[in-house]
């Protein structure tokens, strides 16, 4: 079960953060609303850090990708998207991971940092992330579910979702960092980076178009939902994905409670398909077993074959 971060861990995290920021890298612009082009796996590739201290692992993973400065330019406004779906163990992004990311963004010179969500305050309180946000003095923007708060984003070549409805507040930021937890999901057996973007899309659209009202009688619905997830990933593009794969549920997802497993990993990368393909293995699947991962690869969103990714795995 998740361990609370202690004073000693804070100190270690701080030291690791300092080391990380010394690495640095090229500054990229990742405008959420910019015209989208399929990203290559990138020179950074895929970073996987195994260990027991989630904050230090997070810092190390980003360091392997060139440091947060490679993604957050000085003065940038950064939006964060952790998963706060439930407070059950293994179902939400750990507070120490969010804290480490916030600290790295600050050290990279971010001018503004905020978590965005259309989920309510109880979710943030229950997951312990509200406390981190308060401690770190960053913003928490809770977006009401009304249509007016979402912006239509057409998706060219969509297989199932011709138009996303992305929360307008996202476009107040220069980039966003996707912070999902990977876990079981009763809808499609797996959730990770690609599906977490549903947290930016209108919940009304998520319900009505991803999960169609007639889904029980519609024979293609599971595939439909997976196509919608891939389509959505063509509407918005995270600058970076950092996945909590430390302690996760293997059953009864996405909300739990369920069987906890401890892969003890932080998985980070730009390529969402590669990140998800790796995370799927932690739940006993191959990337090809999960429809959205397979379709994401087929539609050139990213690389499913981990042998073709610059995979850096370290233990700390």
């Amino acid at each position: 079960m998740a361990k609370k971060i202690g004073r000693r861990e804070f100190i270690r995290t701080g030291a690791a953060l300092g080391a990380s920021m010394a690495v640095g890298g090229t500054i990229l612009k990742n405008m959420p609303g910019a015209a989208w082009a399929a990203p290559a796996a990138g020179p950074a590739g895929l970073a996987v850090v195994q260990g027991t201290e989630a904050a230090a692992m997070t810092v190390k993973a980003v360091e392997l990708l060139g440091g947060m400065g490679a993604f957050v330019r000085k003065g940038a406004k950064v939006a964060l998207l952790p998963n706060v779906q439930s407070k059950h163990p293994g179902t939400f992004t750990k507070p120490e991971i969010l804290r480490a990311v916030i600290k790295m963004c600050k050290l990279a010179g971010a001018s503004e940092i905020a978590c965005l969500s259309w989920l309510g305050q109880p979710n943030w309180d229950g997951a312990g992330l509200a406390q981190v946000i308060q401690d770190e003095g960053i913003g928490l923007k809770l977006i009401a579910r009304e249509e007016a708060n979402f912006k239509a984003v057409p998706i060219a070549g969509a297989a199932a979702l011709p138009e996303a409805q992305i929360m307008k507040a996202l476009y107040d930021y220069d980039l966003f960092i996707n912070l999902p937890i990977t876990k079981d999901h009763a809808g499609n057996k797996f959730t990770g980076t690609m599906k977490n973007l549903m947290g930016l899309n209108s919940p009304t659209v998520n319900r009505a178009q991803f999960h169609k009202p007639n889904w029980k009688s519609d024979p293609a619905d599971i595939e439909h939902m997976e196509n919608c997830i891939v389509d959505l990933n063509f509407a918005v593009r995270p600058a970076l994905n950092i996945v909590d794969a430390t302690e996760i549920i293997k059953t009864n997802g996405p909300m739990g409670p369920g069987e906890l497993i401890k892969p003890g990993r932080i998985v980070a990368g730009v390529d969402r398909v590669a990140v998800d393909s790796y995370c799927a293995t932690l739940l006993g699947f191959k990337g090809e077993d999960i429809i959205a991962i397979r379709k994401g690869f087929e539609r050139k969103l990213g690389q499913i074959d981990l042998s073709k990714v610059n995979l850096q795995e370290v233990k700390i």
Partner: protein
Amino acid sequence: MRKSGSTLAALLIAVGLSIGSHPTQTTPPSASARDLTLLVPRAPEIPGWSARGDAQRFSGDDLYVYIDGGAEIYNEYGFRQVLAQDFVDKNQKGVTLEIYEMTDPTAAFGIFSFKASGKGRLADIGADSEFEDYYLHFWKGPFLVTVTGFEANPECRDGVTAIARATGARIHETSGRPAFLSKLPADWIKPGLKYLRGPLGLYNLHPFFTRDVLKFQEAAVVSLEDARVFVFSYPNPAEALARLSETRQVMAADPAYRNVREFPDGHFEAVDLKGNALYARVDGSVIGLVLSPKAIAIGVDLLKRLRS
């Protein structure tokens, strides 16, 4: 999609933690639903524990608000409303009680079977119960109850048990398992059995197809030593035969299956991509299907045990 002009007014932005309001977490239950607050145990019934904060309640489609992305499986079984209430002890250790009212006892048994692993210990609460590492599920009448402890220590485990037991005592409705299960041999009715009502549950247990090819009314899945047995129920034998035929045809055209071979009386065998032998046949109004890493003969023998 329609747009409103009052963007700024509707956009709720809070910087830091100075949040004035947020999306509602409580929806009124439907008129037909029971008052679930009556099932929440009070302090005298759970010594050392007390409710913290107000209960959250969601009904009907608003289950999506409570379990975004995870509501579909509840709806497949038949969901009516849910109540969630937090409890704490004097050391502020936390336990959460969730009471799901399903549309009928069969739905409650089904979602219980879907969520329970079959590996936990029996807790002797309600009709069936299972205590897993840090949480407990039981079902009784039309209710599924899940109690979760947020720390893996004896105090939380005791709290989980006490709150579950007190909740169970407040539920007076009782009922048996689905009648359909009588078609199975008695020794197959054991913890870990899954009772299904639709394609999503089946897809999560075994993704035969991404389409709903089998179109069953009810199903049971039993994991045995050398095989997994799926029993699908239909309104009549003709429908079962038609579904078996379509299943065979779809498998024959699907690259995920090979060596699909039909026999004169309609039963068939195949091999999946992982090398599992698959054997399926109709018995009255049910289709029996066995998946085994071993020989087809195992499936043939197992399905002889079904009661048509």
